[in-house]
Subunit: 111 residues, 2 copies
DNA sequence: TTACTTCATTGCAATATTACGATTAATAAA
DNA sequence: TTTATTAATCGTAATATTGCAATGAAGTAA
């Protein structure tokens, strides 16, 4: 059916999945890296930088905004984008909690 | 066109995106959490645990295997799954590198 | 006002993903 | 051998995603 059965999973699991989706496309990874790299608001030309059509990039930015990882403010003719520090931190913690625990399979009787 | 233009991006960006896809569905998050939780090989019944059809779960497991995060060995009637420690570590580092750097936007003249 | 610029939105087409029933393959148990 | 049992695969349907041209909206500059 192509539709995720969200109700089967915990809120946490759905949240992690939603966050992960933000990184699940190289263009969005590239955008986020750019925003981090410049270490502040971005005013450059993502269309030139990424090589995708303007409409496509706008769509990716929208997706990132919907997850909340980035925010943008209109300033005159152009829009400035930057990472939302609060959400970024939450994302970071969410990911850390996934990776934090040790796990086995170091034992030889395993897989 | 529904097809990602992989060639426009760096190998690293594509890799991160591929890894992120492993987490981009709550069922796969649930599976990975389960594998970590039990801290070794899994022989339980994911169908009962997750509430999805057997075919669907098999599909998710295949996806995870293709990324390399998990591995499975056939032992008699059933298959044991566990996280691949090597790939898991790589994944962890990849994610850390994304989140590691500080970024601005703390300044008030920003967004 | 009339361009011009820039980003968002709309409307498509192509492809990918999610889900499941049915089938198949492989082993274990009788 | 026959009969479970278990997981992978196939086929199909529904929905989501990706990408872009065209258009729209809102400002700037002339």
């Amino acid at each position: 059916m192509g539709v995720t059965k969200t109700n089967l999973f915990t809120e946490d699991q759905n949240k992690i999945a939603a966050f992960a989706k933000a990184f699940a496309h190289p263009a969005r990874v590239a955008i986020l890296q750019k925003l981090k790299e410049i270490n502040s608001c971005y005013n450059g030309d993502l269309v030139v930088d990424l090589g995708l059509a303007q409409a496509t990039i706008s769509q990716h930015l929208k997706a990132l905004k919907e997850v909340g990882v980035i925010k943008g403010t209109i300033s005159g003719t152009s829009v400035s984008y930057c990472i939302d520090p609060i959400v970024w931190k939450e994302l970071n913690e969410e990911m850390n909690s996934l990776f934090s625990l040790d796990f086995g399979c170091g034992s030889e009787d395993c897989c």
